[in-house]
Symmetry: C2
Subunit: 156 residues, 2 copies
DNA sequence: CAATATTACTTAATATGTTAAATAATATCC
DNA sequence: GGATATTATTTAACATATTAAGTAATATTG
């Protein structure tokens, strides 16, 4: 922002006009928005002692029933190495259970357990309020458009 | 997806209809889109041996000139503890330098160095091509709308 | 059907994310 | 002006992200 850097900035942009500046960058904008949207959810979950990733795992299992690890990772938007560790830790705490599949013993099925369901119950209402707040801020139509555009990016 | 879990799923949704299901969740959609957009950038940067966060730091410094750590963290979308570590490592590698501010000795100013500029030069064209690809996929108007909506979320 | 390839998951190593606490310098208040 | 509060940065501790390599089971192929 200093005047001496402004000249340099313009000089560089003159020969690299193709790339949008960082304040118009899609990756950065997505990261910022994600952070803002995650923050209240993270704060809510502190009381339950779980992370947003663990919350996503519980919600996916509650919605879709028992899943194999690969599908669960995809649905909860986690990479397999992360999922492995998180599910191990959640199993130790009794939130989920794992059983080896009998048809294919490479696979395992992860299920939500009573303790995990309790966490869902304790947070579902507040999570809905948080989601509603963002819907109200953006408006239903803009939120719908946003989700569609984000989906389009995901499906590339 | 199994039929025995479908009944459970519906039963739960009946009494918790307020919260959108995970496949319509804004946090998850943002995370997925971010991942898709970041992937080609990360792959590009492998050749230079830096991460996307280090790339953001270099780009912000190149655009805006020397910055104090707090501003740099804000602009590069990093938390201060992350910035501290990353800048330390980048300083050791000669990509950036740090000097303590004389007006306020709590502050320090971070500057990009020749080695850092070289990395920018080596990747700017390809970064522009990647950015263009997303612009072409979405269309200029939809990208503009997306950035505006994301900004609106950020400014909450 | 045995060698090879693929798949599902795990482990390892390194980097970043996140919260809390520590540190040092500056600002504020009585 | 000295006690106290605030600010800028760092450190610590733990959790996740990412890439690569490892392992065990299944699938494929000659």
């Amino acid at each position: 922002m200093s005047s001496q850097s402004t000249k340099k900035h313009e000089a560089i942009n003159a020969r690299t006009a193709l790339l949008p500046s960082t304040d118009r960058s899609l990756p950065i904008a997505l990261t910022r928005a994600r952070e803002k949207v995650m923050l209240p959810i993270r704060q809510m979950l502190i009381a339950s002692g779980i992370t947003e990733q663990q919350w996503r795992i519980l919600r996916v299992l509650q919605e879709q029933g028992p899943l194999d690890s690969t599908t669960l990772a995809e649905q909860a938007c986690l990479l397999m190495p992360s999922l492995t560790r998180i599910v191990q830790s959640m199993e130790e705490k009794g939130f989920v259970s794992r059983v080896v599949s009998q048809e294919d013993r490479r696979r395992q099925t992860v299920s939500i357990e009573a303790k995990g369901r309790t966490i869902i119950q304790n947070n579902l209402d507040e999570a809905a309020i948080i989601a509603k707040r963002f819907e109200d801020v953006l408006g239903k139509q803009k939120l719908k458009t946003l989700l569609e555009t984000l989906k389009q990016l995901d499906e590339l």
